[in-house]
Symmetry: C2
């Protein structure tokens, strides 16, 4: 019932302008004027968003990324920017700038345009790049409803499903619409520069070099990142840090080809067993890395503990929702946990399972691992620790496929391919970036947002910050439960609309 009231309230224009109004996502909004402008803009905003979602953006598909980049350049040019791609290796970095000759400060904005691959079979819609609007039924299932549902009084709990709906085409669409709104009030008093990454989902391998190469052009006083979800309570959030990331792929070997498990079971070495033993030895059952010195440099001081405890996590509820009763024991709380580096098995594959299962000794087994880094982690150091650990188990560790001679010489072989993708960052709350973001949200909501010392996820920000030597803040504008990186990714309509207000309010802060 509360949700219905929220909706109706928004469409009643007789409220006094001094009173806060109910918002679509986060309780109440104090900046009623801005919010009502956003509501008025919603039909155009949804249309722009749908157009953007219809452009495939699998990070591995160059052709798609090229079309997407053209769309972005056109969108910024239409808004008075000068936009083009920056020369670099790999996929293009799309750049846009709007210079104000009287400006004293420059704000650099980071947006992400590419998306994770899709496995269409796992989606409940035919084409993950063809957005659909859905309403949740009483039995919990999501059912497609017509887009006309968004032209009447808006139910903020509807959701738009598509790949990158939240990560991260939602913020791009919200940013473009916010620019349109602000434009109506005259030019900003600062220069605005925007970079749009098209390699984020493969770890932005070419970004550090590109930033160095274009350092002069990208010169700015601060960096704002519109990406990622807010605190999972869906309350307004500013995040002043992010974990970095490194990846490891491990492959173990059995016979050259899968062999009949009857004829060779008990004889041919099983690569799935060896991979299991390697992976299983790295962590305790309750999720602590057992490799010595892995957590070196990361501790939770009494002060930090106090700071982290201000984040209003309801972990009981969170665990009910996620579906487990006991969390990994790296930290005592969720906030403490993400102050440490992590070592996560993100994929495992050997032979075949379920209907496809066949009675063989597999030829190889593959594990994909991601390591999340904190400011105190040196990725090469952690990768070396993992390598040394595997060697200590008796494996011959190489970074390519073994030769026949190596197979005939070493009983236990692991191919380990690793990549330090990018580092972590942390800025101070009273930095230029921290101020602009926190004040923007405070003005919109009438109270200070949740301020996170670091998010758990990674954005390729560390190389930008290190090269440009500026502070940074992340302002999330999508709902937390968006199935990011998974099938059936979505953006809640209420958060889509409110995110426009969030971005507009932050950009509206005087500098």
């Amino acid at each position: 019932m509360k949700k219905v009231i929220n909706t109706i309230l928004l469409w009643v224009s007789t409220l006094s302008s001094v009173l806060p109004i109910a918002a679509y996502a986060s309780g109440v909004v104090y900046d009623k004027d801005l919010y009502q402008q956003v509501i008025k803009q919603t039909p155009q905003a949804v249309q722009l968003y749908k157009n953007l979602l219809s452009l495939p953006n699998d990070t591995h598909n160059q052709e798609d990324i090229k079309k997407l980049s053209s769309w972005l350049i056109q969108a910024f040019n239409q808004r008075g920017f000068e936009s083009h791609t920056l020369e670099m290796s790999g996929s293009p970095l799309v750049y846009a700038e709007r210079i104000n000759p009287n400006a004293k400060k420059t704000v650099l904005v980071y947006l992400q345009a590419d998306g994770q691959p899709v496995d269409p079979k796992a989606w409940q819609q035919p084409n993950p790049y063809q957005p659909v609007l859905k309403k949740q039924q009483n039995d919990g299932r999501w059912q497609v409803v017509p887009w006309s549902y968004l032209t009447q009084s808006i139910d903020p709990d509807l959701r738009i499903f598509a790949r990158s709906a939240a990560d991260s085409k939602g913020p791009i669409a919200q940013f473009l619409v916010a620019l349109d709104l602000i434009q109506q009030q005259g030019p900003l008093n600062y220069n605005l520069k925007v970079i749009m990454d098209t390699e984020e989902e493969i770890g932005s391998p070419n970004l550090p070099t590109a930033i160095i190469r274009h350092k002069q052009k990208l010169k700015a006083d601060m960096l704002l990142i519109f990406d990622g979800p807010p605190h999972y309570s869906n309350q307004p959030t500013v995040t002043l840090g992010a974990r970095g990331i490194a990846t490891i792929q491990l492959t173990t070997y059995g016979p050259y080809k899968p062999q009949h498990s009857g004829h060779y079971g008990n004889y041919a070495p099983n690569p799935a067993l060896h991979l299991s033993q390697i992976l299983g030895s790295m962590k305790s059952q309750d999720g602590r890395v057992l490799i010595p010195n892995f957590y070196e440099g990361s501790t939770i001081s009494a002060d930090l503990k106090k700071l982290l405890s201000k984040v209003p996590d309801d972990e009981q509820q969170l665990k009910q929702k996620l579906g487990f009763s006991v969390h990994d024991k790296v930290g005592n709380t969720l906030q403490e946990s993400i102050q440490f580096p992590s070592l996560n098995i993100r994929g495992l594959q050997s032979g075949w399972v379920e209907q496809q299962a066949r009675t063989i000794v597999p030829d190889k087994a593959i594990a994909e691992i991601d390591i999340r880094l904190v400011k105190e982690s040196n990725p090469q150091r952690l990768i070396s620790l993992v390598k040394n650990h595997i060697e200590s188990l008796g494996y011959y560790v190489i970074d390519r496929e073994p030769t026949h001679k190596e197979r005939m010489t070493h009983p236990y072989i692991v191919t380990m391919k690793s990549r330090p993708v990018y580092g972590a960052f942390r800025s101070e709350p009273n930095s230029l970036a921290g101020n602009m973001a926190i004040q923007g949200l405070t003005k919109l909501y009438g109270e200070r947002p949740i301020v996170l010392r670091s998010g758990g996820g990674s954005i390729p920000i560390a190389p930008i910050i290190d090269t440009l030597e500026i502070p940074a803040a992340i302002v999330p504008s999508v709902n937390a439960d968006n199935n990011q990186h998974s099938p059936n990714e979505n953006l809640r309509v209420g958060n889509f609309i409110e995110g426009i207000a969030i971005i507009a309010s932050v950009l509206n802060q005087p500098l």
Copy 2:
């Protein structure tokens, strides 16, 4: 060069009939008359085999199995049998009998008609049910050649590629052609009954009940099984036992849905870690099961060691071919290894790997295990040992998906689904079945074949033998290196032809 000579020899008809002749697969043949009849029959045999291979036989596809069954019934009816399907649950058991009113003995023959699923992407031909003839090039690759290559002087090293080429449509085609040859010499002096299994690749779940139900009809004095490869040296072989099989599927659980590994890495339990720890704890690095009492009842006595050492294994060469230097340490030799039960991880899956990898904490992890049984293994006992072992690691083990309440109560949960598929068997060399098989091969080759106490693989024979209380022998008729159960399964042409002679010679033994 030797191979070319072999081929030419066969087409020279001036050889003395008392001299052995070079054979296509196994060195020399003494029963020249029979062998030359087989050669004459080859064009028709290949055509029949191609027709049979063109019928899809994925064990999971009822429609395909039905069409295949009709083909088989027709093939046997054309050869003077009465053939029909036997009433039973699941896929039909195809039955054929040819009764001789003067016969004193009855021979029951077991053939397998269904096949493993196919993953067409992994095959080097467009359709695994569209057989192709291939010749190996100097660089090792197999290249398609026209079928007309089989109408001239035959190169026995050509191979026919298709699903079930070897396992087990090869033996069916060879058996049918052998019947045609024998028919030319007048009726057999025994009754011949044939059962054709269409559920072998899913473990023949309905066979035991069907055998009990049709016990009277299937009454016989012995069982001959034409299935499986010979000793890997490709020499004539009789196998007097087979390991049984049981399967286990293990599933571990993380969050309900895959979660972003940044936001929840170090917090959400990782099911791939837990599965790895469970699997890794079951065996030593060199492949011995560590669960106490797993090998109970299986030992290698001095006498048995001597018997097994008669099998002419060249393990150095075998390991070079298979691609590993150190075999699992269950037995000291391959033959010793397969006298023990095995515990093999045949499949592992969690999240995504390689190009599909995404940075998530997976929602679940699945392992498929097969346990090979020997005569001394009670499958239920071994399954219980595995279950107890997993429980001893602190897991709550159930045989279905956990409920929400269970997720909220038990930190570590495993779903374990198990199935004792069928048991092992072993018959004596001087039994009726052993005699017929060994003598048939001795007559054809002029010397005693390799006699294996037990093969490593499983065929659903134990329930037949237990119910009918008869001895059994397996007579292999395909090459060992046939990629059975894997992509690019094939049958060597020389073995296809010689297998017809093998089956005909065994069936020709007087009873």
